[in-house]
């Protein structure tokens, strides 16, 4: 089992399972409501040309978020 890393540290093209999600903060609640609940598999598709924000694939669609949010989300990389 791989050690959890921050979503912002995930390599482009890598997939991971969401492990831990911050409990409070409206941003994080909205991200959960958009399908980023713990246990969900996500793939980091790309980062924007200037390095931020990032685009992930979750539940079959593309979602963008900034690294400032992504660094609080812990994920477990899967091969």
């Amino acid at each position: 089992m791989a050690t959890p890393v921050a979503l912002s540290a995930l390599a482009v093209g890598a997939s991971a399972i969401i492990k831990e999600f911050p409990k409070s903060g409206t941003a994080f609640l909205r991200l959960r409501e958009m399908g980023m609940s713990p246990g969900t598999r996500i793939t980091l598709v790309r980062t924007a040309p200037l390095g931020d924000p990032i685009e992930i694939k979750v539940r079959g669609y593309s979602l963008t978020l900034r690294k400032t949010e992504a660094e609080h989300v812990l994920v477990e990389p899967v091969s």
Binding site: M34, P38, P49, L50, D52, P53, E55, R59, L63, T64
Partner: protein, 708 residues
Amino acid sequence: MALPAHIAAAPTSTSSRNPTYALVGNPNCGKSTLFNALTGLKQKVGNYPGVTVEKKIGTTYSQHGQPMTVIDLPGTYSLAARSPDEAVTRDVLLGRRADTPQPDRILCILDATNLERNLYLLHQILDLGRPVIVVLNMMDLAAKAGLNIRVARLEHELGVPIIPCEAVNGKGIVDLRLAMSRVDLPLARHAWDIPAEIAPAVADLQASLTANDKKAPLVARAEALLLLTDQDSVRVAGSTPLSPRTHEILESWQKRWQAEGTDWAGTLVNSRYDAIGEIAREVVIPAGEAGPSTSDKIDAFVTHPLWGWLTLGAIMTLLFLSIFTFAEYPMNFIDDQMAGLADLVKGSMPPGDLRDLITDGAIAGVGGVIIFLPQILILFFFIGLLESTGYMARAAFIMDRLMSRVGLNGKSFIPLLSSYACAIPGIMATRTIENHKDRLVTILVAPLMSCSARLPVYLLMIAALVPGERVPIMTKVGIMLLMYALGTFGAFGFAWLFKRTLLKGEPPLMIMELPPYRLPSLRDVLLHMFERGWIFLRRAGTVILGISIILWFLSAYPKAPDDTPPQQQLAQSFAGRAGHLIEPAIKPLGFDWQIGIGLISSFAAREVFVSTMGVVFNAQSEDEEDTEPLRQALLGARWPDGSPLFTPLVCFTLMIFYVFAMQCVSTIAIVRRETNSWRWPLFQIGYMTGTAWILSFIVYQAGRALGY
């Protein structure tokens, strides 16, 4: 044709019995396409009182021809609102808005290509205990993506009618109309387990909402569930607040959970997604391991570190080229028609005040309003295309990093960029920015982007500034670029400042969906375009027309004897006197009262400065494009003491003033509409014109000290 007596006699009772449908759905699910398909041109756009959220209501007809009202609610991913728009959706559905009756029935649109996330909103909506019709939109795209959706199974699971649909092609609309015509719509059968740790709280809140807030039991349960995920909920004007008792109960539970470390909101969201996951597994047969989709392939190019920028640059260049080339023809046409109309009136009426009012006041005013239309329509056509294809989200994705430097997010980019053509459509395009403060900051700084109306002023001043008949092209371009750069830096500087002081808020988020690329629906784009144009005419047009007539009056009265040349007539008019009046204020900038008249008349539109200078210095040429006579006249203008008025320094200072000053009534009128108060447009006049004065003062005085 007169109506039969029995119909004509009972209009009020029939209209109040019309069933009202609320149209809800995620952003990008094809909601407005469906709304347009259902209601066609029978739409009314207004505002919810007290908030800057657009209210769209349309009428559609049942299979028996009975009218049905459809309220198009702002798109949202969840009823736990994060913006005023989403708050309106939530409040209308919960019956919290006194200005909008609670809808009888709900039409919930789901994007079939993205069923799981779309089901989240539906899941919340089914809780409301109202009859729901589910529209499964984009079935063709789902099939293309290899998804097989078992509609009958979904219908069985949820217990509500499911209508497969392709709103863009109009497929499924007939079935939808049939379903909407049904007298008996079943309530949802779907049951899900509220997590045990929060169930007692839901029961408490439900009881209190029923007893103290007079809600029906099912709505009370839905609202109770919502209150638990609606942390720091957005409150908007016009929304009925919770009763104090319910509020107390909510707070005491939240305190208790906080102490225990219970993640109540997260638990609730998870349990909904658990239930949704079960449904999705039953209903959606996923495609096999497919390769990258078309959207993925386009995105690999469009968001590429090199090609991405080139694409963005190319699209923006195309946009501006078409505005400047295509808009010119209709604008010239409007100009000619208005001039022709004025001549017609002049020829058929005896000279006098009334004739002047009609020709120089009203017709010129109307012309001044509709001259903006071509630019606005073209810009909104492009913005509509960018939005409905999905490129708009990519532009925001690429630009976000840069915009974040000043505290905004990528969604402010297109509105600000559009403002280079004209601030009016730019400001109207800020509706895509969800965050209220970000939107307001964008509106406040948008007029600093040098719009096309400033161009004639810049050109005239550059011509007067540089000695010699022919201005070297590089000098011209250099000064012009400097002005555009100044305005742009000003806009970003003030955005940065406002985000740190006046409109301080949470750092903006960039939680945004990148929708799959889609072929745009021409009908949607055109409808959107005409709707914006109409809003401009109706809301801004009346104000502009009024101000134009006032400005005409100020320059035409009091009347001098008939044989007075126009130059002297203007000098002794109210406008001329106002020029004298403000001279002490603008003298430190190197401007005299005659320039003052130009500044005042610029309120109608900045380019009016040029024609006013023509009158003031008696240098009107037959050909409007030819500024040479005016240039000569400006260079000949003198202060009473004989020193030249338009020194290079004064010309330069005047340009600086025009970069920053808020001088456009049309913009003021549209800011008033978009912010729903006079406060922000007045603030804008103050801060922009104040900055213009201070910077002009510094430039002029420093220039003088340096010996220019």
